[in-house]
Amino acid sequence: MEEKETLSNEESLALITEMISRAKSDYVETGISALLWGTITTFCAVLTFANYWWQQNWINYIWFLSLFAVIPQILISIRESKIRKLKAYSDDAIGGVWISFGICIFLLSFWLSVAPNPGWGNTNSLYLILYGIPTFTSGYARRFKPMIFGGIACWIFSIASIYMLYPYSMLLLAAGAQLAWFIPGLILRKKYLTAKQQNV
């Protein structure tokens, strides 16, 4: 592109439109991560299905494969970030969703393996896992630390509530709600009112 100092208004607008569409058209995903997890999960699920008849003890541990897949996933993520030529605004939000998903899968597996018996205390643990998802994702997408910490606090409380009996686990639910929403809400409200006052 040769530098042209005199642009007509129509040319300027056409250039802006063209460049915005060029930037959008360049955004591609390699798809390697999706292929990796799609393959491993299908393999484990089909093998577990077949094991209903095979009755092989070792197949019960096949899902540990997904833990090992975390290593290539980390390497793929590092490599993709190195070759990536641009970062879109949606990348942070999408990243937050997948981090939440990874943590929740871990917490759910942990809950299933250690929860002694279903009851109020343990159900609160599941609610706390759910509380953490939108809180952490919103905080991560907007780079708002109080919500990131609030989401993480909910997940920590979800582990703690497994070992707590009803009604005491309700106190963890209350603490989770305070850290995830009430305190960040107060901070946001204060910021909003300050901004509103400045604009008057």
């Binding site: 530098e3 642009l7 802006i16 930037a23 030529k85």
Partner: protein
């Protein structure tokens, strides 16, 4: 009374760079060069002008032992771009009425 078009933005290559950066969070130098079809030298000069105006942020770092330049639009850059587009629309509205 028409608002005067920002001279920093009212040039082909600088406007192209700003239009690319407004649609992404950040982009590296090679990406911008490929999309604008500009020469590396000319692009460097125009990027420096945008940086001096405070419209973009330029981050220089090493990626796998090679120097890498990443550009990101700043808040004043977004504001200037929005005002530029608004001013353009005003001009075009008048042209259509004529």
């Amino acid at each position: 009374m028409f608002k005067e078009l920002d001279p920093i933005l009212h040039s082909q290559l600088r406007l192209a760079v700003m239009s690319l950066l407004i649609s992404v969070k950040e982009a590296d130098f090679i990406f911008i060069r490929e999309k604008t079809n500009a020469t590396a030298g000319n692009l460097s000069v125009q990027i420096q002008k945008l940086k001096d105006a405070g419209y973009i942020e330029v981050i220089k770092e090493f990626k796998e032992n090679y120097p890498n330049t990443t550009c990101r639009i700043t808040k004043p850059g977004i504001k200037a771009f929005e005002e530029y587009v608004k001013a353009l629309q005003e001009y075009l509205k008048v042209n259509i009425k004529k």
